[in-house]
Symmetry: C2
Subunit: 418 residues, 2 copies
């Protein structure tokens, strides 16, 4: 593994291109090798109201029975089952109605022979009764209920602990909480849960040519597209995006930003080997630049490393490259640090190529496609700067490094953007 | 259609059961018939930073070209393509380097014959040049660049508008904005977008027996599970859940809550025909109770209607019924009011039943299943009160009203909880 990562000690190659490129697989292996185990992730206590879609950090065991009393499952009459034996519409057995039992309160008195209590769904079963006869199987005659059917003991009664018992493992650590999970946690009296803390992600947008996101372009200045895109990607993957600024192409400013607190730093721009691309050197000088230059298209100038325990990803400034490098590398780390599955969150479908998809042996290609029915059409304008290609596309096909591409009609896996 | 909805004018049946039940299909048809068209939905202007996952309310057309100047796509040398003709490693053509052109600024002077400019990716092409020769295809000799390969005019140059042209329709109304869509909107200088306003959903939790969510059960009082669950479901479906309270079983209090501002009201509990279930009557008296009682299990006591233009869903208090009724009816309305696809957000897979799944003809069944590989195992404890069955389950199978169920090995569609 170590052997597959080129030596980056001479990173200062400046405008001379990459001497050697790491494979995508080796880069992913390196990321996985430095990610902490689930049990080592930072946690925080959060309220139930914020818990949906969060990742549970610890197992949750119930301290109560649900229900914690025998309760009626129907609207009807609580009675002694043995007293209904032989009842039918031709043999109506009558019981005296003692009163009504509503949810939330115990019925005041014990129910004796020949007696019944009107009961609502959810109400506790009165002492002395053992079954509920649904209202549909009764007739009323003043203060008397006429039983039209027999019931067996326990019928229409929710027993203590039949949903959850004391000591039951209700939710496992690592669970991404669904809406109904939150309901279950509430039902066992839990108000706060220990969740994996969202990884804090600092996004550094570098480039003297950049205007703040959403500013109309002026002269040769262009609005930043990567900041809002990366922010949204980070949130999608369960991270917390720290508000970002555009940083000038100035080593001091970038070094300063590196040292602010974060779990992950994403640097957009300045990641290549051009004259102004000093970010890799900065990382190598002050931390560890482990990988720089990856055999893929787009995103080949991607780099990654660490500085004081913080994972740093150097993402190309070209927006398609930035998106692709995020998806292949940074997103994986952010999902894992948040306790989520490392794999892509994209749904995968199988489709037939409507035309040839050419790739160069020796690099992984990230080919945007439009999906129509079960056909995938590669988008021809594939430049790393054409961000609109990723919005016209429905998804992408990954062509492995050892492939020259696929002929028309070939069956490919498409990862659907979502 | 109208004929398939039973007359609910005599809603005050109290503990006598439902005289007739509406079909699931008729209930869905009614919901669809009263939902506004997309173009009638309320909108709001939001900043780009909040735009991901929101639904665009209007088409967005670009007012600028992207790029809005010809720019270099490589690190290399801007030059006149015609001057590189015939160049090779055996025939190095030399050009004088005038200086460096960085992103963000125009190069100060016009480039003449025999001249070139060092250029970085993204920098504007200097006047007088028409191509970029990548740095890898050059050698440097002092202030002279040696050309090792010819390039054609326009090579490695990003042309004006090649990503997006003025007047291009960049995003369609109705689009759920992806991270890269937000990037594209930023790149055309858009800082705010008009999004469909999130529908405001008021959740009313009724029941004298209920304690606030997450409170340990005491005596015959139980913690509310439906409030936090419904809140999470509403947010999942793009709605905004107004903070909820538990309301006592008191017609005045519920009527008052009905009249607070909201797009949709969900009432949990009190929806059946039991003695304390006056919510349907309240809705009939003050608004319109269109449907009450649906041929399904669980959730048969579900009701729906309108009060002063607000859609009201009466959801059973039993938590599984509440979840199921939300999924079949309320969620659909909330998604539609937020401009989203009406269908379930659950991924659907095909699986074989590991054992028999029994259903009663005449009602739709919502059967929770555990999925193992390509097998689906129905969960046997299926009571409407057993919320933990929806957390143990991986998803559910819908058995249509005309089916008696399926034998072991039958192929069924499973909707995966997420």
């Amino acid at each position: 593994m170590a052997g597959s990562i080129p030596d980056r000690s001479n990173v200062d190659v400046r405008m001379r291109g990459f001497s050697a490129r790491t494979t995508v697989e080796a880069a992913v292996e390196w990321i996985d090798s430095v990610l902490p185990d689930f049990s080592q992730l930072a946690t925080e206590d959060i309220s139930l109201a914020e818990a949906a879609s969060r990742v549970l950090a610890c197992n949750v065991t119930s301290g109560v029975n649900v229900p914690n009393f025998a309760r009626s499952m129907m609207d009807g009459y609580a009675l002694r089952a043995e007293e209904t034996q032989g009842a039918s519409s031709y043999n109506r057995l009558s019981l005296r109605i003692l009163g009504t039992c509503l949810p939330g309160n115990a019925f005041a008195s014990r129910v004796g022979a020949g007696e019944a209590v009107r009961i609502m769904t959810g109400a506790p079963l009165p002492v002395g009764t053992d079954a509920v006869l649904p209202v549909e199987e009764t007739e009323i005659d003043g203060e008397t209920v006429l039983v039209l059917n027999p019931v067996s003991p326990g019928k229409h009664v929710g027993q203590v602990g039949e949903d959850i018992r004391i000591g039951d493992l209700v939710q496992h650590a690592g669970r991404v909480l669904r809406p109904q999970d939150v309901g279950v946690l509430s039902s066992i009296g839990i108000r706060k849960v220990t969740a994996v803390r969202r990884p804090r992600v600092r996004i550094l947008i570098t480039g003297n040519e950049l205007l703040p996101a959403g500013t109309p372009p002026v002269d040769f200045q262009i609005p930043d597209a990567n900041g809002p895109m990366l922010s949204a990607l980070v949130r999608r993957d369960g991270g917390e995006s720290i508000p970002f600024d555009i940083i000038p192409d100035d080593p001091e400013a970038i070094h300063h930003a590196f040292l602010q607190q974060a779990d992950v730093v994403l640097v957009s721009g300045g990641s290549s080997v051009g004259q102004e691309d000093f970010v890799p050197k900065l990382l190598a000088d002050h931390g560890e630049l482990v990988i720089h230059g990856i055999a893929m298209r787009p995103s080949s100038p991607t780099g990654m490393g660490r500085i004081e325990g913080t994972l740093v990803f150097l993402l190309p400034g070209n927006p398609v490259s930035c998106l692709c490098a995020y998806d292949f590398f940074a997103g994986r780390a952010i999902r894992a640090l948040g306790g989520r599955a490392r794999d892509w969150p994209y749904r995968r479908i199988s489709a037939r190529l409507s035309r040839k998809l050419i790739s160069t042996v020796g690099r992984v290609d990230y080919a945007r496609v439009i999906v129509r029915g079960d056909e995938a059409e590669p988008i021809s304008i594939g430049g790393a700067s054409i961000l609109s290609s990723t919005t016209r596309a429905d998804g992408f096909v990954v062509v492995p490094a050892d492939s020259e591409g696929y002929p028309p009609g070939a069956e490919v896996d498409v990862h659907l953007f979502s």
